[in-house]
Amino acid sequence: MRFIRKTHYKQDIQLFKHEGQVFWYGLLAAGLLAAPFLLSDFYLGELSLVFIYAIAGIGLMLLTGYTGLVSLGHAAFLAIGAYTHAYFLAQGWPFLLSATTATLFTALIGGIVGIPALRMTGIYLAVATLAFAIIVEQVLVHWESVTGGFRGMAVELPAIGALALDGSFNFYFLCLAVLVVSLWLALNLLRSPTGRAMTAIRDSEISAQSMGIHLAYTKTTAFAISAGFTGLAGSLLAHKIGYLAPDSFTLLTSIQLLLMVVVGGLGSLHGVIYGAIFIGFLPQGIAVLRDTLPSGIAQIPGLEPGIFGLILVLVLIYEPLGIYGRWLKIRSYFEAFPLYRKAMHKRQRSYLRTERLR
């Protein structure tokens, strides 16, 4: 077990808490930088997709995991980011300007969606965001002059100045860089007042208000930030899939995103990464499963969403803190090695809370 001697307050706000973390994250960074030289193009592409999912996941995690607002409509933000980016690229805008515009535009839409969401929580909010996603899907189909309707639209190849970023090698580094910057921004947010205000709203709206937190402002901001990250991921995803069509952004995509943050572990950025790896490689796993299963089951068309749903339910029942929560338990088992008790992570009934103010 590690004991950290603290001599200054700044030790609690720095990103790396001790040398051990610096070492392990350094190792991870080295591994990620070396990966393109070791892996085949296929796996490099899959890793890029994991990074893109993770960026979208940061957005959804800030909203669902940290602010406590469930969204079933994040595929819409992904779509808005992707289409906006593709549209401006087609107008001849440079890559960086176009991606930034797509991010900010999606954030703006997110803020606007957040306003009616102020009065809703839980299941009502989930349904409202679901409705929003369906509206966006219809707009994509019918606004043909911009989106190309059902025919879809081709996405131009990414390039910054003369540096072409297509090809799995360069695109991998682009996605990695965007992910690292996104993580850094999210971590900064979470260690400053706005991030704390968001978690305060998640845990108790009534006392957040009494602590001087403006609920409407903070929730709208959370929606905008969340949509912004997801829009940014969308603009990268546009390049990854190369050709945009409305059926790339369906309800299933939204559920996949939600599955990612829940399976990864709500309320932690580690969870986003674990969830993204899980979602990124799950289709592969299912493909392998199809080969081994008897053909009667393997050929069922809805197998994939069915398995997604099943996993979501199982995780919610057996490990509400997701993969990251499981990892924390494994770690504390080894830290406390001979002294680990079975009841150490037993969930306790929470104390009575003020019901009359609801």
Binding site: R196, S204, S210, S350
Partner: protein
Amino acid sequence: MSPQPTEKSLLAANGLTLTFGGVHAVDDVSFSVEPGEVFSIIGPNGAGKTTLFNLISRIYDANAGTISFEDDDISAVPTHRIAELGIARTFQNTELFEQETVLRNLLIGQHVHRQTNLLQEFLFLPSVRKQELAFRKEVEDIIDLLDLQHYRHQVIANLPYGIRKMVEVARALCIKPRLLLLDEPSSGLNPEETEDLSFQIEDINEELGTTVIMVEHDMNLVSQVSDRVMALADGKRLAIGTPQEIQQHPEVLKAYLGD
């Protein structure tokens, strides 16, 4: 300390009334709280004590009457502005941010003193870093005052009830309020913790100069720390006076014991 008409009251309620359907939860209650005093509100269950708190902290809108704080009418101020004005409160059954550490809970108390904007926070500019360190310093002062050093990095959900109560008081103090509203601070505490609480309320009152209004059932605690007491029953004010006066007041005895 009895109310002096010449002295400027910190908080004054005038004819406050709140009805839920046909129930008069608070019925034409007037009182004033002077700077620096500890003012207790007592009464049987359902007397309207907590409702009165929710009116002062602007969680409920009064049907009639006004509340003024330092001569400003706060009857229409939005809930989240109350903390900025210098009124902090605790809740009867604790309303802490359960999934966060004690430290982060207390730092939320500093939220009203925030000077940075969202963009600066995204980039964690030096101004944000400086502000975080300053917040931490303030929070540590409160931790020292209430002896919470051991619990600094613990998640609220793992703490015993008595400690949670103190954390909630600490969080309210992090606002640096001029008026602190304590809603049944001793409920759920054992006799020893209640004893500590009375010293801590005195410390808060004397060292920080914070005016305290508290709703309390424990008459020992009330008579130890209060300068004045107001008794409520069925939403109506029965009496205001020193703890001794209230304990012998015939109306109060009638409300508690019946005829």
